[in-house]
């Protein structure tokens, strides 16, 4: 398999995402085992300064274009498709984030190459790629043999430490250009910050997180009681936000925030990858779910197979008693 390994650097508002460093680590080991170069690809406008932190790669391919400033997939996928058609990398690894989502969606069609999503790991075996993925909300592990020719891998955040993808080395930067036609069909008007909540969940030592298993909105009170007893706050997974039971500022996971509290109690949360990526680095994770096979139990330190509300209630009482 000829061609280099590419890692698309995912960035937003002037910062390279943590997930990018995770994928750089993965890309480094893949490139090394294939005996090819690792190239980071940075697409944007006026962000050349961000190339400096991508030193795990052998070099950075930097494309600057005003059309790439607003981080939508339309123009980014065109740019990347043009680059990849010309340079034919063996594999393009992209961290799966809200920012890269549309790029990942449009690229395979534009480039005419396979995409493999939900990737956790990729190995080179006799020059061919063996990709490990997590399907069906984390319920099945699948191994895919990537055929000959370039392939795009959408890598799940949270599968390895970002630290091994960081480097003090400053990489060589090759700035190159692409022709992008004006496309005003999608126009960014503005970014809306979430309504300032009273609570910044990223700054809490203790979080009590509620998911679908809490069953009804009224049970969130029970979570509040426990959070209060422990001096923390309540947060939630996607389904609870979708129902409108908690505001967006309380969402942990892909469209929400990443948290690293000392204690994370996951009550009635199944543990789908989009949520886990937002809390897996919590110091102590206690998970409660009626489904003994829920993926959350793989990431939790302690697990309880029981009704979320019942356990939260009993826990609140036990904590209050201990605290006197």
């Amino acid at each position: 398999m000829a061609g280099n390994v590419w890692v698309v650097a995912d960035h937003w508002k002037g910062t390279i995402s943590e997930a990018t460093y995770e994928v750089l680590a993965l890309g480094r080991s893949l490139a090394d085992s294939l005996g090819v170069r690792l190239e980071a690809v940075l697409l944007g406008h006026g962000v050349r300064g961000l190339t400096a932190s991508l030193g795990t790669a052998d070099s950075v391919l930097y494309v600057d274009h005003p059309a790439l400033a607003d981080a939508t997939g339309e123009q980014a996928s065109r740019a990347l498709a043009a680059l990849a058609s010309a340079r034919v990398p063996a594999a393009i690894l992209v961290p799966t984030t809200n920012v890269s989502w549309d790029l990942l969606g449009l690229l395979p069609g534009r480039l005419g190459v396979p995409l493999i999503s939900f990737c956790r790991d990729v190995e080179a075996i006799d020059g061919a790629l063996q990709v490990s993925c997590l399907l069906y909300g984390g319920k099945m592990a699948v191994t895919v043999a990537a055929g000959p020719g370039p392939v795009v891998l959408a890598v799940l955040p949270g599968t390895r430490s970002p630290d091994s993808g960081r480097s003090a080395a400053v990489p060589a930067v090759e700035e190159t250009s692409v022709d992008l036609a004006d496309d005003s069909r999608l126009r960014l008007l503005e970014f809306e910050e979430p309504e300032a909540g009273d609570v910044d969940i990223t700054k809490q030592d203790v979080l009590v997180a509620v998911g679908r298993g809490i069953t009804v909105e009224a049970n969130i009170e029970v979570a509040e009681e426990l959070a209060s007893a422990l001096g923390g706050a309540v947060c939630g997974s996607r389904p609870v936000i979708d129902q409108g039971w908690l505001p967006l500022v309380r969402q942990v996971g892909k469209s929400g925030v990443t948290v690293k509290p000392r204690l994370y109690v996951a009550a009635g949360i199944s543990g789908a990858p989009e949520h886990v990526e937002g809390m897996k680095d919590s110091e102590v994770i206690i998970a409660v779910n009626t489904d003994a096979g829920a993926p959350i139990f793989s990431v939790a330190h302690y697990g309880i197979v029981d009704d979320a509300t019942d356990v939260l209630e009993a826990l609140a009482e036990a904590v209050r008693k201990r605290k006197g």
Binding site: L106, G109, L135, M140
Partner: protein, 259 residues
């Protein structure tokens, strides 16, 4: 105004998923299918726009087990037309489904061009690609995904949408129609429709069936193994009554200075 909604079925993970004897696919015996949750939000969004703009809503879904329930439910909720595309192999993957749909949709009278195409921007079985953006590309429509609020100005031919970033930040975009939007959420959860209305929809027939036209051939991914995930770490399970367990947790918290 015409809104096209693409919906698909995905494995229902309420049921325990099992691996088939071949070791590379899902066991079909107890496998049930449920509508892709994000597609349900796309339909809800379409119906809200229908109420506000007197738009027509057309739902198209590839053939799959239990899809007729979803199509009848869509009719009962207020969709104007529901169409099932037959002859698409469910196991062939998303790329293949997109190829067939892109080849078929232009040939169905009255479906294209649509002013707005909506579909869920993700699904739990999208191993070889995300359906919405791939189909948008194949239909040559501009695409924006992770959309959770849509307002349309039919006179101006534009929509203003909120796209989810992270940390709860939304990007407000103006989108020139026609466009394809990948739906993540909606201003309200999908509505309930009484079963009697769904049964009435079933009784009046109403699902148009269209045979899939062949699109460009796609190569399915080669899945070499499928298995339940090995726990990379595993939780220490705490047993006992709810009270016992609560005491154990309190012990753990106390030991770690968290009380």
């Amino acid at each position: 105004m015409k809104i096209l909604v693409l919906m698909k079925m995905v494995p229902d993970i309420v049921e325990e998923l099992e691996v088939a004897g071949d070791g590379t696919s899902l066991d079909q015996e107890y496998l049930r299918f449920i509508v892709n949750e994000r597609d349900d939000y796309a339909l809800e969004q379409a119906l809200l726009l229908k109420d506000r703009l007197q738009a027509a809503v057309i739902v198209v879904a590839p053939e799959a087990p239990e899809v007729d329930d979803v199509l009848h439910t869509a009719l009962a909720k207020g969709a104007d037309r529901v169409i099932r595309v037959s002859g698409i192999a469910a196991t062939a993957g998303t790329r293949s489904t997109v190829s067939a749909l892109a080849a078929t949709l232009p040939g169905i009278p009255g479906v294209l061009p649509a002013d707005l195409v909506l579909s869920g921007c993700q699904a739990i079985d999208d191993l070889d690609g995300f359906m919405a953006p791939l189909l948008a590309g194949a239909l040559d429509l501009p695409y924006l995904g992770l959309v959770s609020r849509i307002t349309v100005d039919p006179g101006a031919g534009t929509a203003v949408v909120a796209k989810e970033y992270s940390g709860g930040v939304m990007g407000r975009f103006e989108v020139a129609l026609p466009a394809f939007l990948g739906v993540q959420g909606c201003e309200k959860p999908p509505r309930y429709v009484p079963i009697a209305k769904v049964r009435a929809a079933m009784a009046s027939g109403g699902i148009e069936v269209v045979a899939a036209a062949s699109g460009p051939a796609t190569t399915p991914l080669e899945v070499t193994a499928m298995a339940k995930p090995e726990a990379t770490g595993h939780a220490e399970m705490l047993e006992g009554s709810v009270r016992d367990v609560a005491e154990k947790v309190a012990d753990i918290l106390a030991a770690r200075g968290l009380l």
